[in-house]
Symmetry: C2
């Protein structure tokens, strides 16, 4: 039987019901901005970053977490003695700031939330310092000050011997014209920016695969990649802040962007308005994903429905800006390419990947 993400134990239904209850209650508090000189802009709810609008700027606010990726780092550390907490810290910051920049804001400050089940966790000086160093390095990669944080011991809430990593970011967006509005349109081009691996998504299933392997995370990846499975999983996430900043500097208008995380390539159709996204320039799957598809096994369509498959960030731009967008990405160190186009087809919403024989209908993405 092939593996799917739902079978790995994460039940999106109950989670989504809670999310919807939160979103409904949260919308009811928008009037509270009045007393602060802000208002809630149209269409910020449901996006990856919350925006508040003033006359001359927006404030952006994101709270995000790493997920279960540090459990992979814990297992690899135990098995091989190699500590990946620098990488895990970068991952945590990446998941926060890559959400924040989807509205066009750049992160100004970052705060850490690091909760342990036993304060003895911090007694491993090498691991602790790697976490601290990685967080500071990621702040530098994001251009954001490390503004503070909270590091509680939560015995009975956090499992012993592990840590729960999360945090928040704040950004100020001015002039307001820099806001990424979701005004992508018929004929716009999708520019893809490469990921470094799974980044911070789908780790529960990754861990399940490791459990099935005799050598676990120490299994060589193969497919021309000399790393072990664990090493490849723990490659730190790419932080895409510099790309968005460079587009601002060069005056390239990003009509929309998508941080490709949970729900894999289905996330490409997260705009409310229906479009068909045709991805024509695909690449061979990175070795890590080939390995997981083989070992899981995970079927190709399920893999694209769950993982980023080598694409961490997508920008939706006018065709005339497509080459310039790729150039901006490459100039700031990203691997980027023109990947496809979006077009109107009545009320139809879909992601089509002809070279892989995959189509995702709009009904396969219930959560935004």
């Amino acid at each position: 039987m092939s593996l799917s993400y739902e079978s790995s134990g994460v039940r999106y239904d109950e989670l989504d019901a809670f999310k919807r209850a939160c979103q409904k209650a949260a919308r009811g508090t928008a009037d509270l901005l009045d007393g602060h000189g802000y208002r809630e802009p149209a269409e910020t709810r449901g996006e990856s970053c919350y925006l508040m609008e003033a006359d001359d700027h927006f404030l952006a606010h994101v709270e995000e977490g790493l997920g279960t990726k540090n459990l992979v780092a814990d297992a690899v550390y135990k098995q091989s003695g190699k500590c990946f907490y620098r990488e895990v810290a970068i991952d945590t910051v990446a998941t926060i700031v890559n959400d924040l920049i989807t509205c066009g804001a750049l992160p100004t400050s970052l705060a850490m939330h690091a909760a342990v089940g036993d304060s003895g966790w911090f007694g491993d000086a090498q691991r602790t310092q790697a976490l601290v160093d990685g967080w500071a390095e990621a702040c530098r990669m994001s251009g954001a000050v490390w503004g503070g944080g909270e590091t509680p011991t939560l015995k009975g809430i956090i499992e012993p011997d592990t840590i729960c990593l999360a945090g928040s970011a704040v950004g100020r967006l001015a002039p307001k014209s820099l806001r990424i509005m979701g005004d992508a349109k018929d004929g716009d081009v999708l520019v893809f920016l490469a990921s470094s691996g799974v980044q911070t998504n789908g780790l529960t299933l990754c861990r399940k695969i490791a459990d099935q392997l005799p050598e676990g995370y120490a299994t060589p990846l193969g497919f021309g990649d000399e790393r072990t499975y664990g090493e490849a999983l723990l490659a730190p996430s790419v932080i895409y802040v510099k790309f968005v900043r460079e587009c601002q500097v060069r005056g390239i208008k990003l009509n929309y962007v998508s941080h490709v995380t949970g729900h894999g390539w289905r996330k490409l159709m997260r705009l409310d308005e229906p479009f068909v996204y045709e991805i024509t320039e695909t690449r061979d799957e990175p070795a890590l994903f080939k390995f997981m598809m083989e070992k899981g096994p995970i079927e190709l369509k399920e893999a694209y429905a769950t993982y980023n498959m080598g694409v961490g960030f997508a920008a939706y731009v006018d065709p005339k800006d497509a080459e310039a967008t790729v150039a901006a990405a490459q100039a700031t160190g990203y691997d980027a390419w023109i990947a496809g186009r979006m077009h109107k087809d009545g009320d139809r919403k879909a992601v089509e990947i002809p070279s892989k024989g995959i189509t995702f209908g709009g009904d396969t993405l219930q959560v935004r």
Copy 2:
């Protein structure tokens, strides 16, 4: 043997070492504000809220968490069927915003971080709705929009059957003169605002006491209070935002404020500059604290070193503003009184409570 907080299993030493490493690394990222039109103001590091300074405003950013208080709610729910997740949500927001207002900013937006070990946690519709309703109610009490959040399932990190609650807040502070600077001085008066109970501090020790009692959380409190121990512990925290806002409206300058949390009344001397704080107007301890001192047992001095003992927030004001400060608090619904004074005594730093026969030297507060 009487109980102390250190004996309850929270080792501040290792935690504090990590905090110091974070603070050192975080200070090294201050230059990253340059690219955003902000700078780091003097003396924001070490305060409860991180501030960024622009020419005409400050931005404030706080990340905080509930701690282990929801474990009390879980145990009481199991024992009595009474659900306190509305209260626990208010507690979480309170711990965030009461830290944020210490710099004079008012919270503009709040984000929730609610992580569970099993998404089935959200299957209890009553509890889930109480959490959502409580969070929204607390946003309204704080005057802040509920801007978003993150609700991950973290199997293997969060213990099954429980939840890790935290979040962040953002505030904009303008005009800049409203900043609470910590410029309290010789002769300033301390105004105390009452708490509702333990609020969100010292819950590990509270739980240990419950474990020792035959009836656990169902034990009647006594001392003239008809609630059970569990009900008293779960009284929602007081949110002090309206007090700070009212002082701003009335033009009352708060020279300093302290959110009385961990380290109890020792927190009253959290200013770097040495002063002696003499608390002359004390009250009889609230029934909850009497109960804990008796049942623990906890010695009086240890209790004041750990718990807020009925005082959740302290404002340090010029003597001429003392009555007006009390009036501002009372007008916005708080129980407040003039409690004492601070004075210079060379390099000596201490909190003195003559009516209780307690003195805390500056060496008893290592962490800020």
